[in-house]
């Protein structure tokens, strides 16, 4: 029982960075932009997030505030990077896959370079700590599972219904879905397609930055230039797993993270078995589950990856 509770209670926080980044990528893709640069935006977020408490936050009276300033800065710069990406792929219509790889290199490289220059080696910050919810966290089992996490964990899971609401219940969500599926139709009815795409990119970038900052401020409270280690690509993949739906994306992120917690727990049991095959488990499981899950109606953004311009017919 504790074995299972451990796996579940660890899997939940493990999923958070992926969840936040995937939700951001979902907004990008829903608007028709395939952002493979998520990794780079996460790296920048991770660096900037910890930079604030590390520099001005040190020795301050209320150091906690600087953590949240860090999160804010990370999202803000993430949004700017999203807009910059928009300049390349929306305004200049560059192919999104290749531009995304460029963005990834740019983000990871810049974060690493600035980090080396301004901070030096791997450094830690006090970061944001676990905040058990008073009372609730004392409930046996359930308390450990759901009420004893980092505040950002609750925030991240709150993002799921919020993202759902925004996407399906607000005018902006409607516009995002429209420009990602049939931009010409949206344009013909007076929606400024490229503006909406820029907005979605800003939101996606902000969430990617936040996801990075979650890693550096909440999960490990450290930064090194390899902190993201491919999690941005996994976040992109999870959007496909979740068929562009916030709830299914959450399911994907949880599946992946729980599998990760599970394989670590199994490694801990000390069974004589090459550990490599356990490390593979989360990656393989995501593929297998998707392969055998029921195929849903094609609800995806059919204009994904296609730049829009009124006059240019493609």
């Amino acid at each position: 029982m504790t074995f299972i509770v451990n796996i579940l209670s660890l899997g939940i926080p493990f999923s958070v960075a992926l969840l936040i980044a995937s939700l951001g990528e979902m907004f990008n893709q829903r608007s028709g932009i395939f952002n493979l640069g998520c990794e780079g935006m996460m790296a920048m977020g991770a660096f900037l997030g910890m930079l604030v408490p590390y520099t001005i936050g040190q020795g301050a009276d209320v150091p906690g505030i600087y953590n949240y300033l860090g999160l804010l800065l990370a999202s803000g710069v993430g949004a700017l990077l999203g807009l910059f990406f928009g300049l390349v792929v929306v305004t200049f219509r560059a192919p999104q896959g290749i531009a995304g790889i460029g963005m990834q290199m740019f983000g990871v490289g810049t974060a690493g370079t600035l980090f080396r220059h301004f901070i030096g080696g791997t450094q830690s910050v006090p970061g944001i700590n676990t905040a058990p919810i008073p009372g609730l966290s004392r409930i046996p089992i359930l308390g450990t599972l759901f009420f004893n996490h980092n505040p950002m964990v609750y925030v991240a899971f709150l993002f799921v219904p919020i993202a759902w609401y925004i996407l399906f219940k607000t005018p902006w969500g409607l516009r995002v879905r429209a420009v990602g599926t049939h931009p010409r139709a949206a344009d013909s009815i007076g929606i400024q397609v490229n503006r909406v795409r820029f907005q979605a990119l800003a939101v996606g970038g902000a969430l990617a930055g936040l996801a990075g900052a979650y890693l550096s401020l909440c999960q490990v409270k450290m930064f090194s230039d390899e902190i993201i280690a491919g999690r941005g690509f996994i976040a992109v993949a999870l959007v496909y797993f979740g068929h562009w739906h916030p709830v299914k994306i959450m399911a994907g992120a949880l599946l992946f993270a729980l599998a990760q917690a599970l394989q670590l727990a199994i490694q801990g049991l000390g069974i004589d078995f090459p550990y490599e095959f356990l490390v593979m488990l989360p990656y393989a499981l995501v593929i297998v589950v998707l392969a055998f899950s029921r195929k849903s109606q094609k609800t995806g953004p059919s204009a994904l990856g296609k730049p829009f311009n009124r006059e240019i017919r493609t």
Partner: protein
């Protein structure tokens, strides 16, 4: 809800010129429309009609010229500006997001319902109700667009435009995909509306132009070549002005065929994408050298029928005997090799590979034939020679055989498909809506080609919504309704009225 826009008493287009790279789409066009007038805009494919209307909607910015409303110059930068003046347009290609509901599609443009954190769908629903009541246009707000037939989508487009407060309607080929019944209804509706609205109406069907419009303007190569009152000119006058020559649509007056059956469909059951039985125990046969026209309201199984025969859709039960062989559930390539030719409904996305050159599209079905390849290597010289020949023979207007097929106009794309399907010497041909959206010249050409094939002994299943096309070309007319053949009758007995009744689902029309 009240319209927020002012009335448009006059709209003038002055010296509009619009260039695309390498194309002069609109060349110094001037037109004007007064209150309550219906202007019909006609012209061959590519004449510049749609471009001009897009300029009027603020979608394109003209290179030269201006637009005046009520005598004042306006400068539209986006469709929003046009909406603000009460101009609305139903586009040639429907502008509806398929995976959203009717309600959402309309809400997309209905900015009054955009509360900061909430989309006020009730307000949109009320608005739809009001419009539906006022004009008698019933739509289901909660249906997804992909669930709707073409005719229903057309209605949604109209409702959408009206909901946004349009008092000046632009309709770009609104009837090209409608059934006769739907067309008649639409024309009647527009006639009623023209009392309070001004309308620009684009169509290739001159009968509609005659029925509806008060003025007519003809475009050719981006220029206005004729303007006048509709009453003063007959359809054939207009056709001649449009194409520069007399247009005579050919008739099938050859004697009925005597050769044996070529394609026999027996008790076919086939499911649609949405899972219901689109073909329900359908039986039909077509002889060699015979054209059977399949009339019916679209969405009654025509698409599924064509796809099932061609191996593109699973047959649940029943037989498809082709030259005596059952080809049900064979793969597309097997059906092709058995000698089937197929002109599909979706010419742009299914009939051609748009990014491939014209010549590459000619060999789409024959890359393995000895004619075009040896040891898997393509014989490019042979392909070039053949392609050039086809281009000339089928009068395909393009600079050369290397241009991407997708960049051709609709009419020319259809000719590419026709050229490929006919030159493969099929034993049988299935043609689905072969002239939809084409101008009269192109339609005439395609009709001639179909008749010629028939006279060479090829059996043809012609699926169409245009009764004139069907009655002109067919030996026999079959009427399809809800996946079943209602009746098969000789073309000479297929009056418009009789077909209309059968298409509406009445089984025994003789009693009426």
């Amino acid at each position: 809800m009240e319209l927020t826009t002012k009335a448009i008493d006059s709209l003038r287009i002055e010296h509009i010129t619009k260039r695309f790279p390498g194309v002069l789409a609109c060349d110094d066009i001037s037109l004007d429309i007064g209150k309550g007038e219906v202007l019909a805009l006609v012209g061959e494919n590519g004449a510049g009609k749609t471009t001009l209307m897009n300029v009027l909607m603020g979608l394109y910015h003209p290179d030269e010229g201006k637009i005046l409303i009520n005598g004042e110059e306006v400068n539209f930068r986006s469709p929003n500006d046009a909406f603000a003046y009460g101009i609305g347009m139903v586009h040639q290609q429907y502008m509806l997001v398929p995976n959203m509901t009717v309600l959402e599609n309309i809400a997309l443009g209905f900015k009054q319902a955009w509360k900061p954190w909430k989309l006020d769908l009730h307000m949109v629903r009320d608005r739809i109700d009001a419009v539906a009541r006022q004009y008698g246009l019933a739509v289901d707000p909660d249906a997804f667009i992909w669930q709707l037939s073409v005719g229903e989508q057309q209605r949604v487009e109209l409702v959408k435009t009206l909901c946004l407060g349009a008092r000046f309607l632009i309709l770009d080929e609104p009837t090209s995909a409608l059934t006769p019944q739907e067309t008649d209804d639409l024309i009647a509706l527009l006639k009623r509306m023209s009392g309070e609205l001004s309308i620009i109406f684009i169509s290739h069907k001159l009968q509609e132009v005659k029925d509806l419009s008060s003025k007519v303007a003809i475009l050719r190569h981006g220029r206005v070549v004729f303007q006048g009152n509709t009453i003063d000119h007959s359809s054939s006058d207009i056709a001649a002005l449009m194409t520069g020559h007399e247009v005579v649509l050919p008739h099938n007056d050859a004697p009925a065929c005597t050769m044996g059956p070529m394609l026999q469909l027996r008790n076919l059951k086939v499911r649609s994408d949405r899972g219901f039985l689109a073909l329900d125990d359908l039986s039909l046969y077509i002889c060699k050298g015979e054209i059977v026209g399949l009339a019916g309201v679209s969405g009654n199984g025509q698409r599924e029928l064509a796809e099932a025969i061609n191996g593109l859709r699973k047959v649940e039960s029943g037989q498809i005997l082709f030259d005596g062989q059952d080809i049900a559930n064979r793969s597309p390539v097997q059906v092709i090799q058995a000698g089937m030719g197929y002109i599909p409904e979706e010419r742009n996305t299914e009939g051609i590979v748009p990014s491939f050159s014209m010549k590459e599209n000619f060999i789409l079905k024959d890359t393995d034939s000895e004619k075009y390849s040896s040891h898997s290597f393509l014989k490019n010289k042979v392909v070039d020679v053949e392609a050039e020949q086809l281009r000339q023979q089928f009068d395909i207007r393009s600079p050369n055989i290397e241009v991407a097929a997708g960049s051709l106009s609709g009419g020319n794309i259809q000719k590419v498909i026709l050229a490929r399907e006919i030159s493969r010497s099929p034993k049988f041909l299935i043609a689905v809506y072969p002239t939809r959206g084409l101008d009269m010249g192109a339609a005439e050409f395609i009709h001639k080609q179909l008749l010629q094939k028939r006279n060479e002994g090829v059996g043809i299943l012609l699926i169409s919504e245009e009764l004139e096309e069907i009655t002109n070309l067919s030996d026999q007319v079959a009427v399809i309704f809800k996946g079943k053949i209602q009746k098969v009758l000789p073309s000479s007995e297929a009056s418009r009225r009789r077909l209309g009744i059968l298409m509406a689902g009445v089984k025994d029309d003789e009693e009426i």
